[in-house]
């Protein structure tokens, strides 16, 4: 008898629609592999449902707040139902770019330089006075992003000093803490890792946004984003990218799965931008594409994550 699995999707996060796509696809894959599957759109009935159904496993196909920030993981730990992917702590850290970047720095993992600001420092301590300073130190252009947000929502590249406050307003729409981050010119890649100790590193995916920047606009403008698997990097650089990705995965003690997003600078240094513990699983998402390049069908990938979670 195969396991009874509840697939969690949707919810109230701003990435709801992508999560619904991921979740439905995962549920179909599990059904095709003979699992007993219940699909749950997360709302206030979630815990009572889980307590009465008592599935053998929860598959987390949630993206963004609540699903990726440790909230749901913590909850499942309390009611003692196993789930796919990492636990609360790596989720919390991965979702919070300030925490994760500080950790990267402390452990010698390269990450772009940054400052952080909160709406309260701006409003109650006159922090807007230091913007000029930050601008000078980080150099133009710079990237403004919400400290905690799972996707490119609220992210802006700022090339002119006068556009900085407007970019802060946009980012502060998503989180009351924002990062001003050094912009790294180079090649953007995503590395997916499966497993906990000695994880399998899937082929590196290179992302080429037509707009020059990987933002929400290129997501929605057809023909703007392209990708290459494996990434068009030389062997040595690829090995370095993989080493850094793995170090990041292990540093955060990610269980079973993570996707590490990296900017390979013109100096060939892989700068880690962030780590995702619940990467997208849609037909055009990075993790399934990487898995496919490694000869793993979508169903294989999903089943593998389930088996890892159950052992």
């Amino acid at each position: 008898m195969k396991a009874k699995i509840a697939v969690l999707m949707g919810g109230r996060s701003l990435e709801r629609s992508v999560s619904l796509k991921s979740g439905k696809r995962v549920a179909r894959a599990l059904v095709s592999r003979g699992y007993g599957v219940t699909s749950l759109d997360v709302d206030e009935t979630l815990v009572p449902r889980l307590l009465s159904d008592r599935p053998d496993l929860v598959y987390i196909a949630l993206h963004g707040k609540y699903g990726e920030d440790g909230t749901i993981q913590e909850l499942l730990d309390i009611i003692e139902i196993p789930y796919t992917g990492p636990g609360p702590l790596p989720s919390m850290i991965g979702f919070n770019k300030v925490l994760s970047k500080e950790l990267f720095r402390a452990h010698g993992i390269p990450t772009p330089g940054y400052y952080t600001l909160s709406s309260s420092t701006l409003q109650e301590m006159g922090a807007s006075e230091l913007l000029g300073d930050a601008w000078e130190k980080l150099g133009a252009p710079l990237v403004v992003k919400p400290a905690a947000q799972g996707s490119a929502l609220g992210v802006r590249i700022v090339e002119k000093r006068e556009d900085l406050p407007g970019a802060l307003i946009a980012a502060l729409g998503y989180d009351d803490r924002v990062l001003l981050e050094q912009y790294i010119e180079g090649c953007e890649v995503a590395v997916s890792l499966i497993g906990t100790e000695d994880p399998e590193i899937l082929p590196v995916v290179e992302i080429v946004p037509g707009s020059g920047f990987f933002d929400f606009e290129s997501r929605y403008t057809p023909g703007k984003t392209d990708y290459f698997i494996p990434a068009r990097l030389d062997k040595k650089v690829t090995a370095e990218v993989e080493r850094v990705a793995r170090a990041t995965h292990e540093l955060l003690r990610c269980k079973d799965l993570s996707r590490v997003d990296i900017m390979v600078g013109l100096d060939n240094v892989p700068y880690v931008l962030e780590l995702n513990i619940s990467p997208g699983m849609t037909e055009t998402s990075l993790l399934p594409l990487a898995a496919e390049a490694a000869g793993m069908s979508f169903e294989d990938l999903v089943e593998r994550l389930v088996e890892l979670a159950l052992t």
Binding site: R12, L14, E15, R16, S17, V18, D43, E44, H63, S119, L122, Q123, G126, S128, V143, K145, G150, S151, A152, L153, G154, V155, P165, G166, L168, I169, A170, L172, G173, Y174, E188, A190, I207, F214, D215, F216, E217, S218, R219, Y220, T221, P222, G223, T225, D226, Y227, R259, D261, L273, E274, N276, G280, T282, T284, S285, L286, L289
Partner: protein, 414 residues
């Protein structure tokens, strides 16, 4: 950054026109509004809960019993003749006299907009629209590649004197048409006053203009005296769009075009390639429903609900919105249009509102150049009154907080 991007291997195959479609991250954010815990001022949904299900089932059962063969068969491209006669009666309610031969039934008036775009616009042609304008009209026209001239509106509707200036500019190319929503405009909620209508017709005659008059909300007047339709003043200058979406139900997808005979014929040819004919079953339902007086009674009932919801929203706005905000006082329709201080950007504020479990549509959606960021459209027909009170209160807080933030960044003065 790590976005959930869409890699699309078919990109190279897509047509040029498909890339002109308006895309929006707002749509993605607003997908959350389908959840029951969100108070949504976002959509333009009529309140179906106010309609009597028994009456609708009875009418539908009659159709199924008496018209089975016809209801499940293809119909005429132009539409069901009997329904056209009913629609003539519906238009007569607004003082518009029409001939069934001048009517083409469409699958919602959205299809009419699509057909009109294809019939009249070549890439680079000039068309005139109000600013702000109906987002669905922008979506329908844009793939044809028009150059859009916008004419701002105020409380009296489109500022026709600015259209006149535009038409007199020596270098201006003659527009293919002028698209207007004269009654309780979406998104602004304003109604074009008589003097403006007179002037628009005068300009149309003088400059040989075609007017597209989109009138989805005309029968949803809560108070005041109706203005005569443009089509009734100058039928040869006007392509008129009607719909049952707001007066009966959007789910039946029944709309229509009334236009001069040659235009109707051309539109019918285009419609044939689009869908051969609109749903026979739905047209028969609409015909049967309109043949009984209940439709007027039900509409009256809907209007009472909407009027009361509008009043509640206006009162709540007065109470909870900051003093810098202004808004329209619609005499009908579904929407209130809010104007916030110039520097505010309502699309950047939307995620904060969603975090507070509410939604609205940012102003940028209604401008071809995505300007109008300091506006927002609020729908009052759908949410119940207690939600309107709650939601406007919360939204007022979100706006105040945002104003403070702008202030702390020194962005609150030009």
């Amino acid at each position: 950054m790590s976005p959930e991007i869409i890699f699309d291997p078919y990109t190279k195959l897509y047509s040029e026109a498909s890339t002109l479609v308006r895309s929006s991250d707002i749509r993605d954010l607003l997908s959350i509004t389908g959840r029951s815990d969100i108070i949504s001022f976002g959509g333009g949904l009529p309140y179906i809960g106010g309609l009597p299900p028994e009456e609708f089932s009875r009418v539908m059962n009659d159709v199924l019993r008496e018209g089975f063969t016809e209801a499940f068969q293809y119909g005429e491209t132009g539409g069901l003749e009997m329904l056209k006669s009913r629609l003539v009666e519906v238009m007569a309610e607004e003082g518009l006299s029409a001939e069934p031969e001048h009517i083409l039934i469409t699958t919602g008036s959205q299809q009419a907009l699509d057909l009109i775009g294809r019939l009249f616009i070549d890439p680079g042609d000039t068309i005139v629209m109000e600013a702000p304008t109906y987002v669905g009209a922008l979506a329908a026209f844009c793939p044809n590649g028009p150059r859009i001239t916008t004419i701002p509106l105020d409380d009296m509707g489109m500022r026709v004197e600015l259209l006149e200036e535009e038409l007199q500019r020596a270098d201006a190319s003659a527009p293919k048409f002028v698209y207007v929503v004269p009654n309780f405009q979406t998104p602004a909620g304003v109604t074009m006053q008589k003097s403006r209508r007179d002037k628009l017709i005068e300009l149309a005659e003088k400059h040989d203009l075609l007017i597209i008059e989109d009138n989805p909300y005309g029968l949803l007047r809560f108070e005041g005296k109706p203005e005569k339709t443009l089509a009734s003043r100058a039928p040869h200058r006007v392509v008129y769009l009607g719909t049952l979406s707001k007066t009966v139900s959007p789910g039946i997808r029944v709309g229509w075009v009334m236009a001069p005979a040659p235009v109707v014929e051309k539109l019918a040819v285009l419609k044939q390639s689009a869908d051969l004919c609109s749903s026979s079953l739905n047209q028969m339902f609409a015909e049967a429903y309109l043949s009984q007086d209940i439709w007027k009674k039900n509409l009256e009932n809907q209007k009472n609900i909407y009027r009361s919801r509008r009043d509640t929203m206006l009162k709540s706005l007065e109470k909870h919105f900051p003093k810098e905000a202004r808004w329209t006082h619609p005499q009908g329709g579904l929407f209130i249009w809010v104007t916030l201080p110039e520097y505010l950007d309502t699309s950047k504020m939307l995620p904060l509102a969603i975090e507070q479990k509410l939604a609205y549509v940012p102003g940028t959606a209604f401008y071809p150049d995505y300007s109008g960021a300091n506006h927002m459209r609020l729908n009052f027909s759908f949410p119940p009154e207690e939600q309107i009170v709650q939601g406007i209160k919360r939204l007022g807080k979100v706006i105040r907080k945002e104003i403070e933030l702008y202030h702390s960044l020194g962005l609150d003065h030009p």
